[in-house]
Amino acid sequence: MTGTFLGMPAFPQAAERAVRDGQLRANLRHATHTIRDKRARAVAELPDWAELRAAGKAIKDHTLRHLDRYLVQLEESVTAAGGTVHWAADAEEANRIVADLVHATAETEVVKVKSMATQEIGLNEALAAEGITAYETDLAELIVQLGDDRPSHILVPAIHRNRAEIREIFAERMADWGRPAPEGLTDSPAELAEAARLHLREKFLRAQVAVSGANFMVAETGTLVVVESEGNGRMCLTLPRTLISVVGIEKVVPTWRDLEVFLQLLPRSSTAERMNPYTSLWTGTTAGDGPSEFHLVLLDNGRTAVLADQVGRQALRCIRCSACLNVCPVYERAGGHAYGSVYPGPIGAILTPQLRGTTSPVDASLPYASSLCGACYDVCPVAIDIPEVLVHLRERVTEQGGHPMERAAIAAAGYVLDHPALLTAAERLAGRTRALHPRRLPGPGRAWTDTRDLPEVPAEPFRDWWRKNRP
């Protein structure tokens, strides 16, 4: 993934800083609870939500099992419709392909549709190194780009910013990227939106090349789909001469009939809308209508390895709706940056360590960034059992030799727990020495006692009560 996140601290340290930031916590609490409640209402409207969810899961599982077949079918359909398909094994190859395609047009600017795949591969940075400027056109992505910031949410990447901060970013930074913000800009939402509109409009009208991702690709016709709310995507997908779409290989669905299921699941889970305002679909190129050149870059970047893991592969069902982020009590308090990846929240905690591995401190800490409360699994529209995958990945972390002290403690406790006589002796010893137990522990135990008292050890364990009272 992108180098921007290299050298991130482990999740607990980053999260601790976020927890102490009162403004951030208030922003996140307000935003996540609002969308969480709206989603619950939007989902409750459909009597067949459970069936839709099961269908979404089944379609994704079927497609992933036969990915080889559907990807080849997709390539044939896209090619037949006038597009060109490129295969990229990793981020470097994908970035190289896109840069070369832009160079071939002799342009030095591209406009971008919001895309997780291009963030994952660090495309903007790679293009900048080649002398190509990529302009983000999604409002929240624009805020992040102008602020030299990092995204903190899949759907609303600037969720950590309030409108006063956004006003400041617009007023200070828009001029560096193009049309400056209007004089006397206030933080009223309408004024901020108008400033973004004016700033972006000149880019839409000038750009000759657009880069997008896609929410879905339909194998039977070679049709790509982008769903969005602002219309910036529609501008990018229709106005430029050349369109380059970078899409993860797991985004393919077999047929239009399958697409119908996801066009119901995604907006309700994501923005809590019955239908998103803009659904753009395109099939190759059409003379005199839209881009005359279309390139599809199919991105692997670790996905095939994820597919090989029988438990972990369910993460590839993800349709990037972000319902799991909005409902997660850990995300709500830690914020998105603590996850050290473009994929934050519960889905990030299972996707990032699978795509990047578990060797860096942040990646090894991500499977533990959850209380396993299960709220994410409940809301997931494709029924990804995130807690199951988290525990599965924790096993991977312990097996690579992490946490040697913990491993020793687990082994010792395991021995005592598997020998009831020893367990009883330990319980009695604790009971007899209870007057001596400290209120606060030194070393690693401080993590408990910094904010919590230890429970008082009883005079006798239940075992002894039973022996005496129910002989």
Partner: protein, 253 residues
């Protein structure tokens, strides 16, 4: 009907009053309860921290300890969720790894016989009014594994509503996690503490005297925070409320 109490390691070692209350409650309802002493920990802390192989001896031990009982009753939704949800998974993985089907057979043999206390009361015994008396205001926190893995629904509330003298106060944001999460509480102590803070703000806002739960591990985390802050709100396991009667009312230890 042979019924065994699965006390759980946390209750055995730290909260024996809950296990005693469970015994008294079940006996009052005419159930003959046994406590097989070979029982220990279900292995959840090991499993959820990433030590699947280390918890396998405990899976075997638990299955062995409760062999032959028709019903195994546990005053902990989390431990039931471990047995019901994860034991079959652990068994299946061992089989996939070429280590035979012994563990899977043990897991599948035990899982359907294990009941969380409120499930046993409402579904097996078919009672809601257990004849309890508890003249205090109570708010109830449904722990995540009971709520989402077991789907306990309103069983605990139905039992509480039938308790004489008890005034139930609704807990806002009840379905949000309290922040315990096993080793999460120490591995991500700051987030865990922040979650407890918000949960307790909601609980204190109800003005209730007692914060009731059906999992003592969550109550240990919330109760430890309450004690550190010197709050009067008292954490108490549901079993102790249901065991309390007019003749033998609950008394603070």
């Amino acid at each position: 009907m042979r019924v065994a109490l699965f006390a759980t390691c946390v209750n055995d070692a730290l909260f024996p009053a809950t296990a005693v209350a469970t015994v008294r409650l079940l006996e009052r309802l005419g159930v003959d309860v046994d406590f097989p002493p070979e029982q220990s920990c279900c292995g959840q802390p090991q499993y959820n921290t990433g030590y699947r192989r280390a918890c396998e001896p405990l899976v075997r031990r638990t299955a062995r300890a409760f062999a032959g009982y028709d019903h195994v009753v546990t005053p902990s939704g989390s431990c039931v969720a471990m047995v019901r949800d994860n034991y079959p998974r652990i068994g299946a993985k061992a089989a996939t790894e070429g280590r035979g089907t012994g563990l899977a057979d043990a897991a599948l043999g035990l899982a359907p016989r294990v009941y969380e206390l409120t499930e046993f009361l409402t579904d097996v015994l078919g009672v809601e009014d257990v004849g309890a008396y508890f003249p205090h205001t109570v708010t109830y926190h449904p722990s995540c594994h009971g709520l989402r893995v077991l789907g306990l629904g309103d069983r605990p509330l139905r039992l509480l509503r039938a308790v004489k003298g008890l005034e139930l106060r609704e807990l806002p944001g009840a379905d949000e996690c309290c922040g315990f999460g096993g080793t999460f509480a120490v591995k991500n102590a700051a987030v865990s503490a922040a979650m407890a803070e918000d949960k307790l703000a909601n609980a204190l806002g109800t003005g209730a005297q007692v914060l009731c739960g059906a999992d003592n591990s969550c109550l240990m985390h919330l109760g430890g925070t309450l004690r550190r802050r010197g709050e009067a709100l008292r954490p108490l396991h549901l079993a102790e409320i249901l065991a309390s009667t007019e003749d033998d009312p609950w008394r603070a230890a």
